[in-house]
């Protein structure tokens, strides 16, 4: 075990770097770091200094990526520290494992340290920096948990091993996928790290301001801490939606279960619930496909929900929804139980990740007016159904007003269904896939809506319940969705 400590004297700042279990790689790492620091260079030069080391370390099959990751962190962190000129850092970590760096204040306080010291969290209005800092640190812990921090690090490690394989770019599609995912994970990690750093910087500032009796700086920093405390609440929510496709728009599909008109009416109510929910969230909603029931309701329908994080939220609704009520379609006024299945399909934004569709694999069926057609017939019906012959997957659209547009919409649905199928195939690689309607078993009930003999909506996964079914059916779903999303992350965490 060896440790290197670099200290840089001058304008009051010290830079401490500590490595444990460094091996030879760290030794060669340390040399230019040392010289660059001593020659008082800025962080840009630091970055390039590291990259030259990287060339050496890249040749080593394992752990070398961590040099890459560390270097980028060191670069950015130094940028901060040099600007502020009063920063102290401890880098502690093991190459080849995870989370190499732990930012801290000049007196060694870390984010974990803040939560550990259990400072009392007061109301936001109380001007107490410890309270703001503790609240923010607590949020950071929640964010990390929601991002599945440990898993994230393991995945990053796996990806970096992949990235360092010399034959990676023999398969450019795979390579693109890997490097995109790597980039996105790095982005998430960096965001959290930067946030942590910012918190610690403000704490340093406050302490400094007190030492030097600079009341202006103190109030500035206090304000900044409060701002962070508020931001961190939004970030907590964002972190719930950190899945690969969560930011995508999506299709929501509802299908009536067995039970005829009563079930079809229920399916229509469920679809209506999602339409209102989506509109309230400010999403664009379009009905793509709708097969109405003979008497009332729908047999099945597909809507497109357009907007950021539509899939991230809606995916919490996948499964079977059960209704208990006195059926308005039963003259005997008996109590009925009906089911509706809900599927959610992400609409992948990145065209390059789409499954390739061969035109020759498609059978395109259009609505045909019987008889002579052409000038003989004037109909606004222009439904298009597309069958993907190899998989048997179909998509139908009849709500657009021209055949051309119906075909385009149906193709978009088909594309997303095929993408979803592909995701299912890669399920072990990618846990983000949601079940399609055909995969959902009717036993998989996620929520019960009771209108009679008592009134209640209860989520069977989280046990979250409300006593006002009307508001839920009018689209008030956010609490159900959020409680499911956080519960499912907690569950994942326990399984780790």
């Amino acid at each position: 075990m060896s440790a290197f400590i670099f200290k840089r004297a001058g304008n009051g700042s010290s830079l401490i770097s500590q490595y444990s279990r460094t091996k030879t790689r760290a030794l060669c790492f340390s040399q230019p770091l040392h010289s660059f620091l001593d020659s008082n260079q800025n962080s840009k030069v630091l970055d390039s200094g590291y990259s030259s080391i990287l060339l050496k370390s890249l040749k080593k099959p394992r752990g070398s990526f961590w040099a890459l990751q560390n270097s980028s962190f060191l670069g950015s962190q130094n940028q901060h520290s040099f600007h502020l000129n009063l920063k102290g850092w401890i880098w502690a970590g093991q190459f080849g494992t995870q989370a190499a760096i732990e930012p801290c204040t000049s007196d060694g306080l870390t984010v974990d340290g803040i939560t550990g010291s259990k400072w009392t969290i007061l109301e936001e209005s109380e001007s107490d920096w410890r309270s703001h800092a503790a609240a923010t640190a607590q949020s950071i812990q929640v964010i990390k948990k929601r991002l599945q921090w440990k898993k994230l690090m393991v995945r990053l490690d796996m990806l970096s091993v992949e990235l360092n394989k010399p034959d990676l770019w023999n398969d450019p599609v795979h390579a693109g996928k890997i490097s995109r995912e790597h980039g996105s994970l790095m982005g998430k990690i960096k965001e959290v790290k930067t946030f942590e750093q910012e918190l610690l910087e403000h704490i340093d500032m406050i302490k400094l301001a007190r030492e030097e009796n600079d009341s202006e700086l103190e109030s500035e920093s206090m304000k900044a801490l409060l701002r962070m405390r508020r931001d961190s609440k939004d970030k907590e929510l964002e972190a719930l939606l950190a899945g690969e496709h969560d930011s995508c728009s999506c299709y929501i599909e509802v299908q009536a279960g067995a039970g005829g008109t009563e079930s079809m009416d229920w399916a229509a109510m469920v679809m209506q619930m999602y339409q209102t929910w989506a509109q309230r969230r400010g999403y664009g909603v379009t009905v793509v496909d709708e097969m109405p029931g003979e008497i009332a309701g729908i047999k099945r329908a597909t809507i497109k929900v357009d907007g950021e994080y539509a899939f991230g939220y809606a995916k919490a609704e996948v499964g079977v929804h059960r209704l208990v009520r006195i059926s308005p379609f039963d003259s005997g006024k008996r109590r009925h139980t009906s089911f509706a299945a809900v599927a959610v399909i992400p609409i992948l934004g990145d065209v390059s990740t789409h499954v390739q569709i061969n035109e020759s694999d498609l059978r395109i069926e259009r609505f045909r007016a019987g008889g002579a057609g052409g000038q003989h017939v004037n109909t606004t019906e222009s439904a298009v159904r597309i069958v993907h012959i190899p998989t048997g997957i179909t998509a139908t659209c009849q709500n657009e007003r021209s055949q051309h547009q119906n075909k385009a919409s149906a193709m978009a649905v088909l594309q997303s269904r095929l993408d979803q199928l592909e995701m299912a195939h890669q399920a072990q690689m990618n846990s983000q896939h949601t079940q399609s309607l055909t995969e959902i078993s009717w036993g998989n009930q996620i929520r019960t809506y009771v209108l009679h003999p008592y009134r209640m909506v209860k989520d069977l996964r989280t046990n979250y319940e409300v006593s006002d079914p009307d508001s839920v059916l009018e689209g008030d779903l956010d609490d159900f969705i959020l409680s499911y999303l956080s519960a499912s992350l907690d569950k994942d965490d326990d399984e780790q």
């Binding site: 209506q272 339409q275 209102t276 509109q279 664009g284 909603v285 379009t286 109405p292 395109i364 259009r366 045909r368 007016a369 019987g370 008889g371 002579a372 057609g373 052409g374 000038q375 003989h376 017939v377 004037n378 109909t379 606004t380 019906e381 222009s382 009849q398 709500n399 657009e400 007003r401 021209s402 055949q403 051309h404 547009q405 009018e474």
Partner: protein
């Protein structure tokens, strides 16, 4: 006889929906008027009217019930629309009537039937009385939906249409695919020439062709659209303007090739969906077609081929060598007849003659190249 007011905003229709329907509108077009002003389609009119949400809900409920009352009676009568389709049309009517960003919210409010916010005022592009009137026309008089809203969605276009102009059919969308896939892909230089859409009606083929030509690099192709009907001329010109194609599409009034003497032997393409319904079939047509669409655009003479033959004759003299033509026909019988005519009566004029089926498998189009 009530004169048709073609002026845009009032849409020339009923001031009071309680009046007898016959006074609501008239579908006769005075052919004497030299300058026809095209009607502004509903979706382009300003939001100058309003109704409370409860009034709109009431109308919507009434309209939906009227649509539902039809069941499948029109289907049995003359293969007309059923109530499912009519209810979908009702949604589209709302789409055109309301402000785009509020459409889905209001629609889902109407569908859910909840009674909140009934006093909220909703901005409309037509007065509620007119809506009662036009929806009754749609159901009771079988007035085509496209005339009710004043537009037809065709390919990726939204074309203004009104009484006196044939509503473009989905089958005809394929003519543009033929231009793209058969003519331009094989002979890109055709994209630089003059194209003609004869009997253009709403201007559908001409506008879509112009847009296709413009996707070809360095293309300076032009389209000339002709029609005998002054209403068609006015509507086609309006649609050309909507798509900003005044510099690419020229609309000329006259019968078939008559206004094209200056480009004789120079055309790169001749396209047309001429009248091809045999005269004897006109009386048995679906009500939306037979009772509302212009006979001028439908009736193709006793066998339905008189205009098609005239177009073949004209294409032989108007197309430049290598020029492309595509014509829509009534089906197998007419298509085969035309091919026979070309081979026997116009030997050496054309080559690569083909019959192309529409999506329903009906042999709908005849196409080929000038020798």
């Amino acid at each position: 006889m009530m004169k048709l007011r073609l002026s845009g905003l009032s849409c020339g229709v009923c001031a009071n929906f309680r009046r007898p329907i016959s006074l609501c509108y008239s579908n006769s077009i005075s052919s004497s008027s030299a300058e026809v002003k095209p009607k502004i389609p509903l979706y382009l009119r300003p939001l100058s009217f309003s109704a409370s949400l409860s009034e709109l809900t009431q109308w919507h409920k009434w309209a939906k019930n009227l649509a539902s009352s039809v069941g499948s009676s029109f289907v049995h009568l003359d293969n007309g629309p059923d109530s499912t389709l009519l209810r979908r049309e009702l949604n589209w009517l709302l789409q055109d009537l309301l402000e785009l960003q509020h459409h889905s919210a209001i629609l889902s409010h109407l569908e859910s039937g909840n009674s909140e916010n009934v006093d909220v005022s909703v901005a409309l592009r037509a007065p509620l009385e007119e809506l009662y009137c036009v929806w009754r026309q749609r159901i009771e008089e079988r007035r085509p939906f496209q005339y009710v809203v004043g537009c037809e969605h065709w390919r990726d276009l939204v074309l203004s249409v009104q009484e006196g102009v044939l509503i473009p059919r989905p089958e005809t969308e394929m003519i543009i695919d033929l231009v793209e896939n058969v003519a331009l892909n094989k002979f890109p230089e055709l994209a630089k020439g003059f194209w003609a859409d004869l009997g253009t009606g709403s201007g559908a083929i001409a506008i879509a062709t112009a847009r296709t030509l413009s996707t070809h690099a360095h293309a300076h192709g032009r389209v000339i659209a002709t029609d005998l009907s002054p209403v068609a001329i006015a509507v086609a010109a309006f649609n050309v303007q909507i798509y900003g194609l005044q510099d690419v599409v020229e609309v000329r009034k006259g019968s078939w090739f008559e206004p094209l003497k200056d480009v004789r032997g120079k055309l790169a393409g001749v396209l047309s969906n001429p009248p091809y319904v045999p005269s004897g079939d006109i009386s048995g047509l679906q009500a939306e077609v037979g009772q509302h669409e212009p006979k001028l655009a439908l009736d193709g003479g006793i066998s339905g081929t008189s205009d098609l033959l005239h177009l073949i004759d004209g294409a032989a003299s108007m197309l430049k060598p290598g020029g492309f033509f595509a014509l829509e026909t009534n089906g197998e019988k007419q298509s085969k007849f035309l091919v026979d005519y070309i081979e026997n009566d116009k030997p050496g004029s054309f080559c690569n003659i083909n019959i192309v089926s529409d999506f329903a498998g009906i042999q709908r189009f005849v196409m080929g190249f000038r020798q």
